[in-house]
Subunit: 232 residues, 2 copies
DNA sequence: AAATAATGTTAGGCGAATCTAACAAATATT
DNA sequence: AATATTTGTTAGATTCGCCTAACATTATTT
């Protein structure tokens, strides 16, 4: 049985490797930074997790999850995203409020609870932020996406997520009037400063590159990638 | 912000005082026993909680919750019982499975979550075990009880206690296969001698009036007493 | 290549929550 | 009242997760 703390380290390592494409692994300082801890603390934990065969760690090297570690990390992510979905869909939480509570709920230990919750929610594929929810076997089906910033002028796309999950950004997104699953049309793009003019929900807005780079979109004709991020 | 551990101590003290009618307070050993800890451990925590003004503790004396401590303890109980209700009603958990998971869920910190959950469940008054769920203001409405002997034929009720606490009677109750919180259905009543045919735990029994008059029950449709167990 | 900067490690310490073992006080028994 | 039993307390140790400060290694820059 893992402690909350250990689970958080595994989750952070998953973020820092798989999700951020940092394929060679995460550095000790980088990991500590991500968890708001001091490097010395992360160092201790890496040794402990290596002992438990959940992390591959070598002195002065980058750390990665072992197969077992990765499976456990994915389970935590699965729980986190299912709870976010529950809070948003069933309890009418705001988009930017779900994360904080899910950070707590993700550590509840009960296989049955997770599976029942998944069923109750209708086996959702994506959480309220558009992130993929791993299934019960730990598989994460990838969705073909790009950022709004990369969409071509004249095209219409669907907002499926955000890259920046900070409350500040999420509230800004609300303010602009965008939400998950909105259809967005790119009306024009200023060649000089990449400012986008977009239309969504019948409303036109101008958004900065800084903004559009943090909006994840997909297009109706986009195929779903069949390739799974393998758990092994 | 209290730790899980501190919350568990407060909850145990509530159990041992209010709920068990142990009005003068709980002893250190008794408390330790209830939490499966050693007396020395409970002793340390009592001093700590006294420092935080959540418990009235004096050396070699019985301990009780302060007003603040009681309020916090009731909030934990409220969360526990709301989660039990959620698991039972929404996720189709079995009656005897909910407690363990609720022991974890009760420590999630989010006022909004509790209130939204309460609303989602339709402001339930009782949990799946028939225990009262404190409301958002920390008030616990007492439940209306009667004896099994007074229950109508065809109705189902919940056993909440006994009137006769003698060993002989309790052993008899055991022998019949009844225990606190069991759901009992009254199948028939002989008009001549008031002998009841009941069913509980899938097992049928015939019990005398002498017996049924000593079993305290409540029913889901029973009116709620307006009298509150005051939190102050 | 040497100096500097960035990154990672070790050693020692701290608070929380637990334990055991020894002791002290209160209660019950003879 | 003296003794025994139960109950409660204290002292000291342990594990976990965190820290700071000093040191070591690796990477970068000049």
């Amino acid at each position: 049985m893992l402690s909350f703390t250990e689970e958080n380290y595994l989750k952070a390592l998953l973020r820092l490797t798989i999700e951020k494409g940092n394929k060679d692994g995460a550095g000790t300082n980088e990991l500590a930074e991500h968890l708001n801890l001091k490097p010395a603390t992360a160092n201790d934990m890496l040794k402990k997790l290596k002992e438990k065969k959940l992390v591959d760690y070598e002195k002065y090297g980058k750390s990665t999850l072992t197969k077992d570690g990765k499976r456990l990390a994915i389970d935590v992510v699965r729980k986190h995203r299912l709870w976010e979905t529950f809070l948003f869909e069933k309890l009418a939480f705001e988009w930017d409020e779900v994360h904080e509570v899910a950070e707590q709920l993700e550590h509840i230990q009960s296989r049955k609870l997770v599976d029942k919750l998944d069923e109750f929610l209708g086996y959702p594929g994506f959480d309220p932020h558009g992130d993929v929810i791993p299934n019960a076997r730990g598989e994460m089906l990838a969705r073909l996406t790009k950022t709004l910033h990369e969409e071509e002028v004249g095209h219409e796309c669907i907002m499926v997520g955000v890259k920046d999950n900070s409350a500040a950004f999420l509230q800004y997104v609300n303010q602009v009037g965008l939400k998950i699953n909105d259809h967005i049309r790119v009306l024009s793009k200023q060649p000089y400063d990449d400012l986008l003019e977009i239309e969504a929900n019948g409303k036109k807005s101008n958004v900065s590159p800084r903004f559009s780079e943090n909006i994840v979109i997909t297009c109706p004709d986009c195929e779903r990638k069949k390739s799974k991020i393998k758990t092994a």
